[in-house]
Symmetry: C2
Subunit: 77 residues, 2 copies
């Protein structure tokens, strides 16, 4: 069974390495990871907020929002 995981970011240059390392570290046998750049896909900001995302980068996995380090508040995008 594959669980969806969504990694939201906004291109934060300081965090891109860390972001991609974490998103790429998930078990591909169990997780299907989608990467969403909210600066480029602003129409998905509402979806991220509804999932509980308050800042980026964030990983929503199994419905849980995990905020990873800190790039920007969602309200600043």
């Amino acid at each position: 069974m594959n669980t969806n995981a969504v990694f939201y970011h906004a291109g934060c240059p300081v965090c891109v390495d860390a972001e991609q390392q974490l998103a790429g570290a998930l078990d591909p046998a169990r997780y299907q990871v989608e990467i969403v750049h909210l600066g480029q896909q602003r129409e998905r900001i509402g979806e991220a907020a509804a999932a509980g995302v308050a800042s980026v980068p964030a990983l929503v996995i199994g419905g849980l929002p995990l905020h990873i380090n800190f790039g920007a508040h969602l309200t600043d995008l």
Copy 2:
């Protein structure tokens, strides 16, 4: 090749589910995940700080410290 990943936490009740979900989601073929409870293993606080960990829960993966949500500052442990 297995990469070491260390998940530092301090028993934060709000975060345990999220923590274990993320630590358990890493690809076991590539990552060997160690869980460290810094409240119980205070002798490892220095090691966590040296890795760049400022707060828990945090995952150090490939040498990069990723702070996940927020439980407590390392200095408060």
